[in-house]
C-alpha cells in the first residue's frame, strides 16, 4: 500500500514540477534598435531636459553597459508656436540634453515642438502643456494600529481640475524624527502609493481626488511635515510612466500582459514620449 502511495506522489510531483530551459533567442527576437527620446516640459521647470538613447534586445543586455545606450551626439531643438527655439546641449551628468528654462518660456496651454537629429535621421514630436495645475492639496497621516513596525499611511487629497479629464501622478516624502533617544536628526521616507500613484478623474468629474500610500518610520518617532507633489500630465505621459510602473511591478508574474507604452515620436524606429505637465508641490506641516 505504501509503495502505491509513494508511486502516486512521485508521479504527481512529475506533473506539477516544471522544467526550465534556455532558448536560443537569436532568431526569435526583434533585432532593430529603436531611437528612444523622452522629454517632459513643465512651466515649473528650471531646466528643460530631453534624453536620447537607443534600445537594445534584452538578449544583449548582459554584455553592454547602460551608458552605451545613451546617444550624446544628437541635435535636439525645442521650439514654440511663435517659432522661438532653443538648442539643447548634452550633459554628462544627467545623460540628457539640457537648456535653462529661461531660454524658452513654457506657458500653460501652449504647444511645443521637438526636433531631434540622430545619426542623420530626423525625429519630431509635439506636446501641449496642460492649462491648469491641481489645487488645494491636503495630507493626513493615519496610524496603522495593527502595525508594530512603524508602518503608517498618508492620505493625500486634491481638488479635481473642473470640467475636463485629468491625469494625475502623485508623489510624497515624509520628514520625521526619531524620539527614541532624545531628538534625532530629521529623516525622510518616501511614500509608496502603489497603483494609486496614477489616478484619473474618469467617471468622477469634479470630485475630490484621494490617494492613499504608506511609509515606514521608527516606532518611537514624530512626523514633521510632508512634501507633496501632484503632476497634472498629458495622458500620453501618464500612460507611459504608468506602463513602466505596472510592467516593473508585475515583472515576476508570467501571466501578466505587459502594458504597451505609448509613443508620439515620429521618425524611423522612433519611440518615446514628448509631453507636457504641470507640477504642484506643497510642504504640509503636521
Amino acid at each position: 500500500m505504501k509503495y502505491i502511495q509513494y508511486s502516486i506522489i512521485i508521479i504527481l510531483s512529475a506533473v506539477l514540477l516544471s522544467c526550465e530551459t534556455s532558448v536560443d533567442a537569436s532568431d526569435l527576437l526583434a533585432k532593430e534598435q529603436l531611437v528612444v527620446i523622452n522629454g517632459y516640459l513643465s512651466p515649473q521647470d528650471t531646466t528643460l531636459k530631453v534624453q536620447v538613447s537607443k534600445s537594445r534586445s534584452r538578449a544583449a543586455s548582459g554584455s553592454q553597459n547602460n551608458e552605451n545606450l545613451i546617444v550624446n551626439d544628437a541635435l535636439v531643438v525645442l521650439s514654440d508656436e511663435e517659432g522661438n527655439e532653443v538648442t539643447l546641449t548634452y550633459s554628462n551628468i544627467t545623460f540628457s540634453y539640457e537648456a535653462a528654462a529661461s531660454e524658452l518660456v513654457i506657458t500653460p496651454g501652449r504647444q511645443y515642438f521637438l526636433t531631434a537629429v540622430v545619426e542623420g535621421k530626423e525625429y519630431r514630436a509635439s506636446c501641449t502643456i496642460p492649462a491648469e495645475q491641481a489645487q488645494n492639496v491636503r495630507a493626513e497621516i493615519l496610524d496603522r494600529e495593527d502595525d508594530e513596525l512603524g508602518n503608517q499611511s498618508l492620505k493625500v487629497t486634491v481638488d479635481d481640475i473642473r470640467d475636463k479629464r485629468n491625469f494625475y501622478i502623485v508623489g510624497a516624502a515624509v520628514n520625521w524624527r526619531s524620539t527614541d533617544i532624545g531628538s534625532g536628526e530629521p529623516q525622510v521616507s518616501r511614500v509608496d502609493f502603489e497603483f494609486e500613484q496614477f489616478t484619473t478623474d474618469s467617471n468622477r468629474e469634479n470630485a475630490l481626488i484621494t490617494v492613499d500610500g504608506f511609509f515606514f518610520i521608527d516606532t518611537f518617532s514624530e512626523t514633521l511635515s510632508a512634501n507633496i507633489q501632484v503632476a497634472n500630465a498629458e495622458q500620453i505621459l501618464y500612460d507611459a510612466l504608468r506602463a513602466t510602473f505596472l510592467n516593473d511591478y508585475n515583472e515576476d508574474d508570467p501571466f501578466f500582459e505587459p502594458v504597451i507604452a505609448p509613443t508620439n515620436i515620429q521618425g524611423e524606429n522612433g519611440f518615446g514620449v514628448f509631453a507636457g505637465y504641470q507640477l504642484l508641490e506643497e510642504e504640509i506641516i503636521f
Partner: protein, 779 residues
C-alpha cells in the same frame, strides 16, 4: 433598422409556414404518419440522431434529442431502415394504411466495428445533412483517446478537432475559430455551464461516464442556440438504465469515479448517479506536519432521474455539482489560521417532454445554473478573531420551451422561446474583526435575456436543402434594453449523392462577458453583464464547405473555409486587470466598467477533417489554417494585433485501433505553430529618469518593454500520446479494463511561458512524459 430586421424575420417565417401548409393541402395521395421513439436495448436509453429512412421513396428523418421521430409518407407498403453507427441496423416492412406509432430498440453491436456506413444513414453522413461546421464525437471515442493522467476528457478530445484549438499547454479552455473561451456556449442538459475547468484548466468538469451525446457547432448555428459568439457545445447525460442496475467503477492515479444507474420503477423511472473525486489531498495527509496542512481536490457529481408517465409525457430532472477546493490550516500556540479557496458550478434542469401529436413534440425546461468563486480566511488569535470572506459569481434562472413540428418529410420545423434572469455578483465581501464594526460589501447586477426562434430543415429538392432560421433576442439591463435580430441560414447542394457543397451564414449576439486577466482560466475570471455602457458582443460568420463521404470505405472528408467578424468584443484596458485584483485585495470599490474597453475582431481560415468512422481502425486527421486578429482603440496604441492563440497551423492525427475485442490501441499526435506571448523583449534607459516625481518601487536603470501586444511568437508545439487498454468480458454484462497511457511520450518541452533571466531567454515547460494507469470495472 432593428424594427425592419424583425419585420423581415417574421415575413420569412410567414412565407415558410405558408409554404409548408400549402404543400400539405395540395397533396393528392393520402399520407400517414409513422411516429415513435428509438431506444437502446438493455437500458431503454433514448437515442438521438438515429436515421429512419425509406429507401424506395428516398425520404427519411432522424430522431431528435429525446429519441422521437415523425415521418409522413404515402399510404402503402414501405421498408424502413433504422440505423445508427455502433448499433445493429433494423429493417422493418410497414403496411401503412393509417397513422401508426412505432418504437424501435437498437442493439449496441460489437460487430458494427466491421460494418460500413450504409447509404441509409442519410441523417448522419456528412454529405447528407444540411448542417455544416458540426463536430460530433461519441463518448465511446473519448474513452479510447489517450488522456493526461488517464482522465478522459470531453474538451481535451474536442481540442483534437480542426477549428477547436487548445489554449496553453494542458488547458481545457478552448478557442473556436478565433474566438475566446467565454464565447463558447457550454450546455449540460440545457443548463449553461460557466466554468468548465478544474485545476486551472488541466481538466474539464465533464465526467465522461455519465455522458450520452456530445455535439459541437463551430458555425452555421441553428437558431435554437444563441447567446455566445463562437461555438455551442451541447452535452446531454444518460437517463439511466430502466431495466437493471448497472454501473462502472474507475480507479485512476489522481481520481476515482463511480457511475451507478438503474430502475426505480422498472420501465418507468430510472436514475443515474455519477461521481468523481481526486484524492491527492487525502493521500498526502499522512505526510503533512500536524501544525500545517494543505490540500486540494476537485469533485463532480451528476444525478438524474427520468420518469416516463406514458409514451407522450416524460420528465427529466438533471443535476450537476462540481467544485474545486484548496484548503490550508496552520496552528501555532493557540493561534489558528484557516484558508479556503473554492470555485464551482451547480446546475439543475427540470424538463418535461410532451408529444402533442404524431407530428408535434415539445420540451419545456426550467433551468438553474450557478457559478461561484470564494475565498475565506479565518484567523483566530488568543482573544481576537479576524474573518474575511470574498466571493463572486453568477446565478441564472431560466425557462425555455422548444417545439418540434414535422409536417411532411421535406420540413422539420423547430421553434421556441427562452428567457433567463441573470444575477451577477461581481463582488461580495464580509469582514468580521473583534472590536471592529462589521464590513459587508455586495455588488449586484441583474439582467434579463430572452429570445424567440424558429428554424426549418427544408428539403427543397432531392439534391438541395436549406436550413433557414431566425432568432430575435432581447436583453434588459435596468432601463436599457437591446433588441437584436439574428438571421441564420445553411444551404446544402448535393452535387452527387455522397458529395455536398454547403454554405452558411449566422449572426450572434452575446450579452454576458468574461473578464479574464490571465488567459489561462483562473477562477478569478469574472462574468459580467452588458450594461447601458457596455454593448453586447456581435459576430457574423460566413462559411463555405465541401463534404464527401466514401461510404464503402467508411471515410468522410470535410473541407470548410470561414470568415468571422466580431464587434464590441471586450478586453481589460492596458494594465487594468491587476487594478481589479488589487481592488479585490483591498476591498476598495471601483467601477469595473472603467477597466473595460471594446474593439473588433477578425478570424478566418480553413479546416480539413478526414475521418474514418468504422472498421477496426478509426480516427481522424484534422488540419486548421487560421488567422485571428483584434483591434481596440485603447490597446496596443490602437493598432491591430494577433490574438494570443492565433496560430497559423494546427494538425492533429488520432487513431484508435481495435484488432481484437480484448484490446484497444490508441494514439494522437498534435502539431501547431507557436502561441503568441507578451514578452518585453527590448530595454532602454528608463523613461522615469527626468520626471520630478519618483515612480514607486522603480529602481531606475533600464526599462524592459515591447512595442506590440502579443509580440513574441513562441516555438511550435507538438506531442505524441499513446494508450492501450486491455478488456476482459465476463458473464452478466461485466467487464474489466486496464488502461495504460503516456502523455507526451517523447518528452517534448513545449513552451508554457517565456521570461528573461538577465540576458538569457528562458522557457518554462510543463507536462512532459506523464504516464498513467487506470482500472475500470463495469457491471
Amino acid at each position: 433598422m432593428k424594427t425592419k430586421q424583425v419585420l423581415l424575420a417574421f415575413w420569412v417565417l410567414a412565407i415558410s409556414i405558408t409554404n409548408v401548409f400549402g404543400q400539405s393541402s395540395n397533396q393528392k395521395t393520402k399520407k400517414h404518419t409513422i411516429s415513435g421513439y428509438v431506444k437502446e436495448v438493455g437500458s431503454q436509453e433514448y437515442l438521438p440522431m438515429v436515421s429512419i429512412y425509406v429507401p424506395a421513396s428516398k425520404v427519411g428523418t432522424t430522431t431528435n434529442d429525446y429519441g422521437f421521430f415523425s415521418l409522413t409518407i404515402p399510404e402503402g407498403t414501405h421498408e424502413l431502415i433504422v440505423s445508427f453507427i455502433g448499433y445493429g441496423t433494423i429493417r422493418k416492412t410497414v403496411e401503412l394504411t393509417d397513422d401508426v406509432e412505432l418504437s424501435f430498440e437498437m442493439e449496441l453491436s460489437a460487430e458494427s466495428l466491421d460494418e460500413v456506413i450504409i447509404e441509409a444513414d442519410r441523417g448522419v453522413n456528412e454529405s447528407q445533412v444540411t448542417q455544416m461546421s458540426v463536430v460530433t464525437i461519441k463518448p465511446s471515442e473519448i474513452e479510447d483517446i489517450p488522456a493526461i493522467l488517464g482522465e478522459k476528457d470531453v474538451i481535451k478530445a474536442l481540442q483534437l478537432m480542426p477549428g477547436i484549438q487548445r489554449g496553453n499547454e494542458g488547458s481545457a479552455g478552448f478557442f473556436v475559430r478565433g474566438g475566446t473561451p467565454d464565447q463558447n456556449l457550454i450546455i449540460l442538459d440545457e443548463a449553461p455551464v460557466y466554468n468548465s475547468n478544474h485545476l486551472f484548466g488541466i481538466f474539464s468538469v465533464f465526467n465522461g461516464d455519465a455522458i450520452k451525446s456530445i455535439e459541437t457547432y463551430k458555425g452555421g448555428f441553428p437558431a435554437r442556440f444563441g447567446g455566445r459568439l463562437s461555438s455551442v457545445l451541447k452535452i446531454d447525460t444518460k437517463n439511466g438504465n430502466k431495466e437493471r442496475l448497472s454501473g462502472k467503477v474507475n480507479v485512476g492515479l489522481i481520481s476515482s469515479s463511480l457511475v451507478l444507474e438503474g430502475p426505480i420503477k422498472k420501465g418507468k423511472t430510472s436514475f443515474i448517479f455519477s461521481g468523481r473525486r481526486t484524492y491527492a489531498d487525502l493521500l498526502s495527509k499522512p505526510f503533512q506536519s500536524s501544525d500545517f496542512k494543505a490540500g486540494y481536490f476537485f469533485t463532480d457529481l451528476n444525478f438524474k432521474i427520468h420518469h416516463v408517465f406514458n409514451e407522450k409525457n416524460k420528465l427529466y430532472w438533471s443535476n450537476y455539482f462540481g467544485q474545486d477546493r484548496f484548503t490550508g490550516d496552520e496552528r501555532d500556540d493557540g493561534e489558528r489560521f484557516k484558508t479556503r479557496l473554492f470555485w464551482g458550478n451547480i446546475t439543475s434542469t427540470l424538463r418535461w417532454n410532451r408529444q402533442f401529436s404524431d407530428k408535434f413534440f415539445s420540451n419545456t425546461s426550467l433551468i438553474f445554473s450557478n457559478y461561484n468563486f470564494g475565498l475565506k480566511y479565518d484567523e483566530k488569535l488568543n482573544d481576537s478573531r479576524f474573518l474575511f470572506k470574498l466571493s463572486s459569481g453568477i446565478n441564472d434562472y431560466g425557462i425555455k420551451a422548444d417545439f418540434d413540428y414535422y409536417p411532411n418529410p421535406n420540413h422539420s420545423i423547430r421553434f421556441g422561446v427562452a428567457s433567463t434572469y441573470h444575477s451577477f455578483i461581481p463582488k461580495q465581501s464580509k469582514i468580521r474583526e473583534t472590536g471592529e464594526d462589521n464590513n459587508d460589501v455586495k455588488q449586484k447586477i441583474e439582467s434579463l435575456e430572452s429570445a424567440i426562434y424558429a428554424e426549418d430543415n427544408w428539403k427543397i429538392t432531392e439534391n438541395l436543402s436549406l436550413s433557414p432560421g431566425a432568432r430575435v433576442t432581447h436583453f434588459q439591463f435596468k432601463s436599457k434594453s437591446y433588441l437584436n435580430f439574428e438571421p441564420r441560414a445553411t444551404i446544402a447542394w448535393n452535387i452527387k449523392p455522397d458529395l455536398a457543397l454547403k454554405a452558411s451564414y449566422s449572426k450572434m449576439n452575446q450579452y454576458i462577458h468574461l473578464l479574464s486577466n490571465s488567459g489561462i482560466g483562473l477562477p478569478t475570471d469574472l462574468w459580467v453583464s452588458s450594461t447601458d455602457n457596455l454593448k453586447p458582443q456581435v459576430s457574423q460568420q460566413y462559411a463555405l464547405g465541401l463534404a464527401k463521404d466514401f461510404l464503402d470505405e467508411g471515410y468522410a472528408i470535410t473541407l470548410e473555409g470561414y470568415y468571422k467578424k466580431m464587434d464590441d468584443v471586450i478586453s481589460y484596458k492596458e494594465g487594468a486587470s491587476f487594478l481589479l485584483l488589487e481592488d479585490l485585495e483591498t476591498g476598495r470599490e471601483i467601477d469595473w466598467e472603467e477597466n473595460i474597453t471594446t474593439g473588433e475582431g477578425w478570424a478566418y481560415g480553413a479546416e480539413l477533417l478526414l475521418r474514418k468512422k468504422t472498421g477496426k481502425l478509426t480516427g481522424w486527421l484534422g488540419y486548421t489554417l487560421s488567422w485571428s486578429e483584434r483591434q481596440f482603440d485603447e490597446l496596443n496604441q490602437g493598432r491591430k494585433f494577433f490574438a494570443r492563440y492565433d496560430r497559423r497551423h494546427d494538425l492533429s492525427l488520432v487513431g484508435i485501433y481495435k484488432p481484437h475485442e480484448r484490446i484497444t490501441l490508441s494514439g494522437s499526435w498534435v502539431f501547431s505553430s507557436g502561441n503568441n506571448f507578451n514578452l518585453p523583449d527590448r530595454e532602454a534607459i528608463s523613461n522615469t529618469a527626468n520626471f520630478p516625481i519618483p515612480i514607486s518601487l522603480f529602481n531606475g536603470g533600464t526599462t524592459p518593454f515591447s512595442t506590440e501586444r502579443n509580440n513574441f511568437r513562441g516555438e511550435s508545439y507538438h506531442r505524441l500520446d499513446l494508450g492501450v487498454q486491455f478488456h476482459k468480458r465476463f458473464a452478466k454484462h461485466r467487464e474489466r479494463t486496464w488502461g495504460f497511457s503516456v502523455y507526451n511520450i517523447y518528452g517534448r518541452r513545449n513552451p508554457f511561458y517565456y521570461y528573461f533571466d538577465d540576458a538569457e531567454l528562458k522557457k518554462v515547460s510543463i507536462l512532459q512524459f506523464i504516464p498513467s494507469i487506470n482500472y475500470t470495472y463495469k457491471f
